[in-house]
């Protein structure tokens, strides 16, 4: 695993994130280059709208530069921090927009995209391969529950209502699906560590 390659979003150096909030132009630029693609993809997936996704990212990066949001090493990797911020802001925006029609099928196939692997760091490609494969192996109902929770911010009760399913069934699907993902990812993490 080439986790140390410079441009992988999944391998942003914590020092880059810390220096970005301290007025270091070069570090900020590198942080943007490494993270913007996956953050924008996440925001577009949640909001289903490129313009709004752009606004979310603009506010986020300016917040990083102006130190309104700060990276703390104790809270995980830089990309985990940025993804969490992007997700929560995009979901907040999604909820506040009453006119929005939620994405019904949880699919992102209609979003224009680059061919997988192009302009993508090897470390990110490896992660994409393993998570995509694991997700595709999940039963459709489990994958759907995870996507509704993760990308639309729905609670289990809301998912149960949306799908007209018992709450216990939805909770079990979420738990089982995530546990399977965890099991599959463990082998990848072990391999990544040893590399």
């Amino acid at each position: 695993m080439s986790a140390s390659l410079p441009h992988a979003a999944s391998a942003i150096d914590p020092k880059i994130a810390a220096r970005s909030g301290k007025g270091d132009h070069l570090a900020f630029s590198q942080l943007y280059d490494q993270s913007s693609r996956v953050l924008f993809s996440l925001a577009v997936r949640i909001l289903g709208n490129r313009e709004e996704a752009e606004e979310v990212l603009q506010s986020l990066y300016i917040g990083v530069w102006r130190k309104t949001v700060r990276y703390d090493v104790g809270r995980g990797t830089p990309i985990a921090w940025l993804l969490t911020l992007t997700r929560s802001r995009a979901i907040e925006r999604l909820r506040s927009s009453s006119s929005r029609v939620p994405r019904q099928d949880g699919s992102s196939d209609d979003i224009p995209n680059l061919p997988a692997g192009e302009f993508e760091a090897p470390a990110d490609q490896a992660l994409r391969t393993v998570i995509s494969k694991t997700l595709s192996e999940l039963p459709q109902v489990q994958r759907q529950a995870i996507e509704l929770s993760y990308y639309e911010g729905l609670s289990p009760v809301e998912i149960a209502t949306r799908l007209s399913q018992p709450l216990d069934a939805v909770t079990a699907r979420l738990r089982l699906g995530l546990s399977k993902l965890r099991e599959s990812m463990q082998a990848y993490w072990e391999h990544d560590k040893s590399a």
Binding site: R50, A116, L135, G153, W189
Partner: protein, 217 residues
């Protein structure tokens, strides 16, 4: 809630799918130092971080980078560049000094006066047109700055709201802990009262047997 229930809620916590009471219960459990649950949470959080990597990659618009860098760069010129720094060399008075060397009253003729007047009017016109366009540019810059300030203020507000919510949760936990301690104290107090009553009984029994009053604590 049993440990099994709490452990079962870890994956849901990692993707933010727990309700407040369940979330607080798990957080209290994690704070109590349960290592297996903490390890599981880290792994489930890593799964949550990996999920967006399965999405089809969408490159952000080229303009976004420029917008962000522009909003960032605006800070320094806005702070350091005041309108007065650019105006002095273009003031009509300064123009006059450059164009016409100082002269005495005796050498001034009607032609000179006319030239001075024309140059003055031209200078004034150039200054006015420059000033108007500079103001428009300045207003546009200010507007962009205000927009970015609004965005930053919104972000700050969201952060403050989050912090307040975290503090509320901590307060609720402290209250619950306090209540638990109070309950324990009440229980201890009841036990003491009970012991005291038992001692009184023993004293009475001893008195009835006619023995000397015992020195009971």
């Amino acid at each position: 809630m049993t440990h099994e229930d709490l452990a079962d809620s870890v994956p849901l916590y990692a993707i933010g799918a727990l309700d407040k009471p369940e979330r607080q219960a798990l957080e209290a459990h994690l704070l109590s130092g349960c290592t297996p649950c903490r390890t599981a949470l880290k792994e489930f959080q890593s799964v949550a971080v990996a999920l967006p990597f399965a999405l089809n990659l969408t490159a952000p618009p080229r303009g976004l980078r420029a917008k962000i860098m522009g909003a960032r760069a605006q800070e320094s010129p806005e702070e350091s560049g005041s309108p007065s720094s650019a105006t002095p060399s273009l003031e009509p008075g300064e123009w006059m000094k450059h164009l016409i060397p100082p002269t005495t009253a005796s050498t001034t003729s009607f032609g000179w006066a006319l030239s001075i007047l024309i140059v003055g009017v031209l200078g004034l016109l150039i200054f006015l047109s420059w000033n108007t366009s500079a103001r428009v540019t300045e207003d546009v810059n200010k507007l962009a700055e205000l927009q970015s300030q609004v965005a930053v203020a919104k972000a700050k507000l969201a952060t403050i709201q989050q912090q307040l919510s975290e503090r509320d949760e901590a307060l609720v936990q402290t209250r619950e802990e306090l209540q638990r301690r109070l309950d324990e104290l009440t229980e201890v107090k009841d036990q003491l009262i009970h012991r005291e009553a038992e001692l009184d009984d023993l004293r009475t029994q001893l008195m009835e047997r006619g023995g000397p009053p015992a020195q009971l604590p």
